[in-house]
């Protein structure tokens, strides 16, 4: 049996996982906050786009363009109004608060949209693919992977080539010292969360186009994001792509060997990386 096809599918799936992970990694890198509601916000954004599509009869990609600034504003407000109050010296408080948000979002979505599985449709593109021998590359998975690379390139450019990026990195180094530089870290954190939520919107779009989602889909998205971040190395954007790809390949290769092994193989590889390199493959200092 050829492993080439599952390998390629796994790499492409890794693009989606990298999109899940990039926003999580950004937040952890800037403010050492683990957003346990990250996956639920992805699902929330997907429903938001679904609502745009169904209520306003818009194409899904237009819904994405609407969702991106909206999600930025939501992330910004969430940080300013709630999460900034939780960031003292205790790691437990933000964990509990985001865990609570996760429950609120799941139940809110259940109330608003029922437990039915839904998906975003992009017409014939969904089933389009290129076939080379026994290898078939889907157009949507390929676009997902390319967008993931572009998102990570964009974030890397933003962080290492712009004034805002310099301020974000400095704030990650010391929230006290940026203050004597004339910067209010609460404002920087809010911008970081807004950026994370824009990435969430992009991730939600591709999640919704590639597969079904329902109100309870958030925690498993968080788990994949978390595993990708840890495999790749905390706080490294390229690490999320590598981590996502490794996770995706592990799942598809595992599934190719035995369909029941898809999830298991991903978790086993995650554990193996933790044992061998606890700080991840591309850990930032």
């Amino acid at each position: 049996m050829s492993l080439l096809n599952p390998l390629i599918q796994g790499v492409l799936l890794g693009g989606l996982y990298a999109l899940y992970a990039a926003g999580l990694s950004l937040i952890f890198g800037v403010m050492r906050l683990v957003n346990l509601a990250h996956g639920d916000f992805i699902v929330l954004a997907a429903y938001l786009m679904l609502a745009c599509v169904t209520a306003l009869a818009l194409p899904a990609w237009v819904a994405l363009l609407i969702a991106m600034p909206f999600m930025f504003a939501l992330g910004w407000a969430l940080q300013r109004l709630i999460l900034n109050r939780t960031l003292k010296n205790d790691l437990l408080v933000p964990l509990l608060v985001t865990f609570g948000l996760s429950i609120i979002i799941q139940n809110g979505l259940l109330l608003a949209f029922s437990a039915d599985s839904r998906r975003l449709t992009v017409g014939e593109l969904e089933i389009a693919s290129w076939t080379f021998g026994d290898i078939s590359i889907g157009v949507v998975p390929l676009i997902t992977f390319i967008v993931a690379v572009l998102v990570i390139l964009g974030l890397t450019f933003l962080f290492y080539r712009t004034r805002l990026g310099r301020i974000l990195r400095a704030t990650a180094d010391s929230t006290e010292i940026v203050q004597i530089m004339g910067i209010d870290p609460r404002h920087v954190f809010a911008i970081a969360m807004g950026l994370s939520f824009v990435v969430i919107a992009v991730a939600a779009f591709f999640m919704g186009v590639r597969a079904n989602f329902d109100p309870a889909a958030g925690p498993s998205r968080l788990l994949y994001a978390f595993e990708a971040v840890v495999i790749g190395g905390l706080g490294s954007f390229w690490g999320t792509l590598i981590g996502g790809t490794i996770l995706g390949v592990a799942q598809t290769v595992g599934a190719a060997i035995n369909p029941e092994w898809q999830q298991l193989a991903g978790h086993v590889v995650f554990l193996a990386v933790i044992l061998a390199r606890p700080r991840g493959l591309l850990a930032r200092a």
Partner: protein
């Protein structure tokens, strides 16, 4: 009118009181040194001035305006810039990025710009692409001073800038301070190195246990008086 004055400045950390009614005045263009032993309250004084420790509004006057308790990120915009104890550079930023962070709060490009700071500290221009922690301690101190200057401060606060530096480097740093003063910037230093402080300062204040124990011009103060004010014992 003095550029900077404190009136009955008190600083608390929870229940612990670090300063008990400190009165200090700094004139425009002066270099003033705060000396004192460990725990005398020198750093608390600097933290209050830079906005990192809360105080009463009227306890700190900048050019006659009450500014005590202003958040640190606004205090630097008012013209009070701090070179913190231990340098506290951003370790994941390059030398140039560290310097540019200093100008984050200002809107106009004048005074201490990047080229001016590089002309002032040529060694930093050579190393501008290096990460800050790869520099020697003395060079890092120059970055910390340059970073504070980038805010175009009316008054430059320097907290223990000779700490951990070689005697030659201490001399370099203090020569730089003299040159900064010559350009008209007012300087307030906190210093444990008595000799460096007495040589650099127009006037000194000695702190002991959160209070001013002595004040005056270095030339007018006797060794014994300084020692008594510093250690709390007359010989």
């Amino acid at each position: 009118m003095s550029l900077l004055t404190t009136h009955g400045l008190e600083v608390f950390y929870g229940d612990f009181q670090a300063l008990f009614g400190v009165d200090v005045a700094v004139e425009e263009g002066e270099t003033v040194a705060i000396i004192g032993a460990n725990g005398a309250g020198k750093s608390s004084f600097m933290n209050a001035l830079s906005g990192l420790a809360p105080t009463r509004r009227d306890a700190i006057l900048l050019a006659g305006e009450a500014v005590g308790g202003t958040p640190a990120y606004d205090m630097v915009k008012l013209g009070i810039a701090l070179v913190p104890e231990g340098r506290r550079l951003f370790p994941s930023l390059t030398v140039e990025e560290n310097l540019l962070m200093g100008s984050s709060g200002r809107t106009v490009e004048r005074g201490w710009t990047l080229p001016v700071v590089y002309d002032f500290f040529p060694v930093l221009r050579e190393r501008r692409r290096q990460l800050a922690p790869t520099l020697s301690g003395g060079q890092q101190q120059l970055v910390a001073i340059g970073r504070a200057l980038m805010a175009n401060p009316r008054i430059l606060l320097c907290d223990e800038i000779s700490l951990g530096l070689s005697p030659a480097m201490v001399q370099t740093v203090y020569q730089a301070l003299a040159a900064i003063k010559a350009r008209g910037t007012t300087i307030l230093i906190v210093e444990q190195d008595l000799r460096a402080a007495l040589a650099a300062a127009d006037r000194i204040y000695c702190f002991m246990e959160g209070r001013v124990s002595l004040a005056g011009r270095p030339a007018e103060l006797s060794r014994d008086a300084i020692q008594a004010a510093y250690f709390g014992t007359a010989r």
